[in-house]
C-alpha cells in the first residue's frame, strides 16, 4: 500500500488561495454534519443520554433511606411494647413487614433478602419500664449495605427516643447545649446539587472524546481515510473538521443539561453563566484533544471504544468526585485522580454553578485544564499519522 502514500505538499496547498482553503474546510465540516445527521439512531442516543441521566438522578436516585422493610420480635407482648411497635410502624422510614416470634427466625428472615433490620423487644419490657425506669432494646441490622444499616439504626434510635420522651412528659433537663444548624448552598439537601456538574463532565467526555475518536478511527478502519487524503485539504484540517460537529453537539447537550436542571430539578445557576459556558468550551477542547490522542494510537473501532471506556469514562465516573467521595479513597488513588481532567472540570462547575463564586476561586483549576489541553494536543500531533503504511 506504499504507493498510495500521498505527500502533503504544503506548496501545492498554499498555492490555492487561502479563501479556497477555508471553503474546502467548510465543505468538509458540512460532510461531517451530514454523516452524523443521517445516523438518526446515534444522534438520538447522544442527545438522549443527558436527559435520561438527569431524570434518573433527579427523580429516581436518592441516598435517602426510606421504606426499608423491617421485622420485629416482640418477646414482651404487653401494652408498652405494642405502643412502641405502633410508633415504629408509623414512621415513614420503615415498612413493618414481618412479625417474628423467636430469635432463631431472624437469620432465615435476613437470608430471604428483604428484611434490612430486626428490632428485638425483650421480655418484661413494660414491667421494667414501670418498676426500674429503664429497659433495653436490641437492634440487629443487615450490614451488607453499611450506610443503610447505620442510617436505619440512627432512625430507630430517634423513634425510641421519641417514645422515651412521651413517657417522660417532657421534663427539661438542666445544663443544655443547643445547636443551631444552617445548611449552606443546598438547604433542602437535594442530591441534584452534586450530580448535575458530574453529568455535564460525563456528557462532554462522552460526546467529544469518545465519539470523535471513534469517528476518526472508523475512517481509518474502513479505508476511507485514504480517499480523504487524496483531497486537497491538509490532514489537520480533516481532523478538525471531524471534531467541529461533535463540539457543537456537546454544547447543545450542555445547554440542555443546564435548562433541565434549572427548570425541572430546581437547581439554580448561582454564578456567572458566561463564565460557566467559557469553562465548558475549554473542557470540550480538552476532551477533543483526548479523543484525538486516542484515535492516533488505535486502529480498530472496538479497541478505540474500549480504550475510551477504560481510559476516560471510568476514570471520569470514579475519580471526578461525582459518584464517590474522593477523600475516602486510598491515597494513591487520590493522587491518580489528579490526572483525570474531568476532576478539575467538575470542581470548576460545582464552584461556579452551585456555590456561585467567581473566577478568582477557579483560576488555578482553569490553568491546569489549559495545561492538560496543550499537552494532549502536542502528544496527538506527534503521534498522528495520516499516512497509511
Amino acid at each position: 500500500m506504499k504507493n498510495t502514500h500521498i505527500e502533503k505538499d504544503s506548496g501545492a496547498g498554499k498555492s490555492s488561495a487561502s479563501g479556497g482553503g477555508i471553503k474546502q474546510f467548510y465543505a468538509f465540516v458540512k460532510k461531517e454534519f451530514f454523516h452524523i445527521w443521517r445516523d438518526k439512531r446515534t444522534l438520538f442516543i447522544l442527545l438522549g443520554i443527558p436527559i435520561t441521566q438527569i431524570i434518573i438522578f433527579g427523580f429516581a436516585l436518592t441516598n435517602e433511606v426510606k421504606n426499608s422493610k423491617i421485622a420485629i420480635v416482640d418477646l414482651s407482648k404487653d401494652y408498652a411494647s405494642r405502643q412502641l411497635i405502633q410508633k415504629i410502624s408509623a414512621s415513614k422510614y420503615f415498612d413493618y413487614d414481618q412479625r417474628l416470634y423467636a430469635y432463631n427466625e431472624i437469620d432465615p428472615a435476613f437470608k430471604k433478602g428483604k428484611i434490612k433490620m430486626v428490632v428485638v423487644i425483650p421480655q418484661q419490657f413494660g414491667n421494667d419500664l414501670q418498676h426500674i425506669n429503664s429497659a433495653k432494646i436490641q437492634l440487629i441490622c443487615d450490614g451488607s449495605d453499611p450506610n443503610v444499616a447505620t442510617t436505619l439504626a440512627t432512625y430507630a434510635n430517634a423513634v425510641i427516643l421519641d417514645y422515651q420522651m412521651s413517657i417522660n412528659q417532657q421534663q427539661k433537663l438542666p445544663y443544655r447545649i443547643e445547636s443551631e444548624i444552617r445548611m449552606m448552598y443546598n438547604p433542602e439537601l437535594k442530591g441534584a446539587y452534586s450530580f448535575v456538574p458530574g453529568v455535564m463532565a460525563l456528557i462532554l467526555m462522552l460526546t467529544c472524546a469518545m465519539m470523535t475518536s471513534i469517528a476518526i478511527v472508523k475512517e481509518k478502519e474502513m479505508g476511507t481515510m485514504e480517499v480523504i487524503l487524496v483531497s486537497p485539504l491538509q490532514p489537520f484540517g480533516v481532523v478538525v473538521a471531524k471534531a467541529v460537529p461533535y463540539m457543537l453537539l456537546s454544547m447543545v447537550n450542555v445547554m440542555t443539561i443546564l435548562l433541565l436542571s434549572v427548570f425541572v430539578l430546581d437547581v439554580p445557576i448561582s454564578g456567572n453563566l458566561s463564565l460557566l459556558i467559557a469553562e465548558s468550551l475549554l473542557f470540550t477542547i480538552t476532551s477533543l484533544a483526548l479523543g484525538l490522542l486516542i484515535s492516533s494510537v488505535t486502529d480498530s473501532q472496538q479497541v478505540a471504544m474500549l480504550v475510551s471506556l477504560m481510559g476516560m469514562f471510568l476514570p471520569t465516573v470514579v475519580f471526578s468526585g461525582y459518584m464517590f467521595p474522593v477523600e475516602n479513597m486510598p491515597v494513591p488513588l487520590q493522587v491518580l485522580s489528579n490526572v483525570v481532567p474531568s476532576k478539575w472540570y467538575y470542581f470548576i462547575v460545582k464552584t461556579i454553578m452551585i456555590k456561585g463564586l467567581g473566577f478568582s476561586y477557579v483560576w488555578k483549576e482553569t490553568l491546569i485544564l489549559i495545561g492538560m489541553t496543550i499537552l494532549l494536543f502536542a502528544l496527538s500531533i506527534k503521534n498522528f499519522k495520516t499516512r497509511l503504511a
Binding site: 445516523d39 442516543i45 447522544l46 438522549g48 443520554i49 435520561t52 427523580f59 429516581a60 436516585l61 436518592t62 441516598n63 426510606k66 421504606n67 437470608k111 433478602g113 419500664l129 426500674i132 425506669n133 429497659a135 436490641q138 437492634l139 441490622c141 443487615d142 450490614g143 451488607s144 449495605d145 450506610n147 443503610v148 444499616a149 447505620t150 430507630a156 425510641i160 417514645y163 413517657i167 438542666p174 445544663y175 443544655r176 447545649i177 445547636s179 444548624i181 444552617r182 449552606m184 448552598y185 443546598n186 439537601l189 446539587y193 452534586s194 471513534i214 469517528a215 472508523k218 472496538q302 479497541v303 471504544m305 477504560m310 470514579v318 459518584m323 467521595p325 477523600e327 475516602n328 479513597m329
Partner: protein, 372 residues
C-alpha cells in the same frame, strides 16, 4: 450438529486471534474489580471542621478535642475569627464551620443553656446529613458528660431511659467493599455478556461477512447458537476470574455455596446474551451498537441497586426496575455471598431471569431474518 461444531471452532478462533479483545476481556474486569471497590466508599468520614472559638474556655477546648478524637472529623482551622473560618467552606477546604460564642462555658453553668452555631456545606446532601448527625451526637454526648459531672443522679433515674444495643450481621466491620464487590461483579458480567455479543455480531454486519453466512445453508438457529455459546463460556470464565479476585484480593469468603452462584450466573448469562443479540438486530454499525449498549447499561447500572437502594426509589421507578435484569443479579450475588442464601431463597429470582432469557432470545431470533 456438525455445522454447529464448525461454527464454534470458527468463533473461538476469531476471538483468540484478536489479541486486543482478549486482553481487554480479562483486563477490564480485573481493573474494574480492583479500582471500583477501593474507590467506592460511601462511608462518611474525614469531615473537615473549621472552628471559630470566641470563648477559649476549658469547656470549648474540651468540646473541640472530643470532636476531633472521634475519628470522623479533621480539624483544619482553629481561630477566633468567624470570617476566616467561613472562608474555608467557600474554598471547599472545610465541610463544617462551628462557632462557639463568647461566654459559652459561663452560660451553661449560670444560665442553664448555651448555644452553638454550625454551618454545614450541603452541596453533598448525604455528607451534610450524616456529618451533621455525627457532630450533634458528639455534642449531646459532651452535654451529658457535663451534666453528670455537675449533678448527682440517684440509682434509679428520675426519668425513664431506654437504651439500645446495636449489632451488625454479615458485615460486622461495616466494610463497604463487601457491599460493592459482588455488585461490581454482576455489572461486569452483564457488560461482557451483552456488550461484546452485540458488538461482535454487528461487526460482521458492518464488514459484510454476515451476508456471506446468510447465503450458506447454515440455519438461523445454528448461527445464533454459534454466536451465543462462545460468549457464554467467556462470561463464565470472567465470572471465575472475578470470584478469584474477590477471594484473594479482598478476602471475601462467600458464605453461601459457589455452586449456587455459578448456577444463577449460567442462567443469567443466557438472558444478557439474549439482550446483546436483540441489540445487534437493531444496530447497523458498531458505533450504534456500542452507543445503544452503553445507554442501556447506564440505565441498568444506575437503577440496579449498585449505588443507591432500590427501596428508596419512588414507586413508579421501582416498577421500571422490575424490568432490569441487573438488579436481580446484584441482589442474588449479595445474598448468596454475604448472607449464605440458598437456591430455595432465590427461587423467584431464578424464574424471573429464565423468563427474561426466553423473551429476549425469542424476540431476537424473531427479528433476525436471513434476508434483510
Amino acid at each position: 450438529m456438525r455445522t454447529l461444531f464448525f461454527l464454534l471452532q470458527k468463533e473461538f478462533r476469531q476471538i483468540f486471534r484478536d489479541p486486543a479483545i482478549l486482553r481487554i476481556i480479562f483486563m477490564l474486569p480485573t481493573m474494574q474489580l480492583i479500582i471500583i471497590p477501593m474507590a467506592a466508599d460511601f462511608e462518611v468520614k474525614n469531615i473537615n471542621l473549621a472552628v471559630a472559638d470566641h470563648d477559649h474556655s476549658v469547656y470549648s477546648q474540651q468540646l473541640v478535642q472530643k470532636i476531633t478524637s472521634s475519628g470522623y472529623f479533621k480539624l483544619i482551622h482553629y481561630s477566633s475569627d468567624y470570617k476566616e473560618a467561613f472562608k474555608e467552606i467557600e474554598s471547599d477546604k472545610a465541610d463544617i464551620v462551628m462557632e462557639i460564642p463568647v461566654h459559652f462555658e459561663r452560660d451553661i453553668v449560670k444560665d442553664d443553656a448555651s448555644k452553638l452555631f454550625l454551618s454545614i456545606n450541603a452541596v453533598n446532601g448525604m455528607k451534610a446529613n450524616l456529618g451533621g448527625a455525627y457532630i450533634q451526637n458528639i455534642i449531646q454526648d459532651f452535654n451529658n458528660e457535663i451534666r453528670v459531672r455537675l449533678v448527682q443522679f440517684p440509682p434509679i433515674p428520675p426519668q425513664t431511659v431506654i437504651s439500645t444495643t446495636y449489632s451488625n450481621w454479615f458485615n460486622p466491620f461495616l466494610n463497604y467493599k463487601v457491599f460493592m464487590v459482588p455488585a461490581v461483579l454482576a455489572t461486569l458480567l452483564t457488560m461482557v455478556g451483552a456488550f461484546l455479543t452485540a458488538l461482535n455480531i454487528v461487526k460482521e454486519k458492518e464488514i459484510g461477512t454476515i451476508e456471506q453466512i446468510n447465503v450458506t445453508p447454515i440455519r438461523k438457529h445454528h448461527f445464533i447458537l454459534g454466536k451465543l455459546i462462545p460468549f457464554w463460556v467467556l462470561g463464565l470464565v470472567v465470572m471465575t476470574v472475578g470470584l478469584l479476585i474477590m477471594r484473594f484480593v479482598y478476602q471475601i469468603h462467600p458464605v453461601g455455596s459457589i455452586f449456587t452462584i455459578y448456577f444463577f450466573a449460567a442462567i443469567y448469562l443466557l438472558a444478557v446474551l439474549g439482550l446483546g443479540l436483540l441489540v445487534s438486530t437493531f444496530a447497523d454499525t458498531q458505533q450504534q451498537a456500542m452507543l445503544i449498549s452503553f445507554f442501556l447499561m447506564m440505565i441498568f447500572i444506575l437503577l440496579g441497586g449498585l449505588f443507591t437502594p432500590i427501596e428508596s426509589m419512588p414507586s413508579w421507578v421501582q416498577k421500571i426496575v422490575w424490568l432490569n435484569p441487573v438488579s436481580y443479579f446484584i441482589e442474588v450475588v449479595r445474598m448468596v455471598i454475604l448472607k449464605g442464601s440458598g437456591i430455595s431463597d432465590i427461587r423467584n429470582h431464578i424464574f424471573i431471569i429464565l423468563g427474561f432469557a426466553v423473551v429476549l432470545n425469542g424476540w431476537a431470533v424473531f427479528n433476525y431474518k436471513k434476508t434483510s
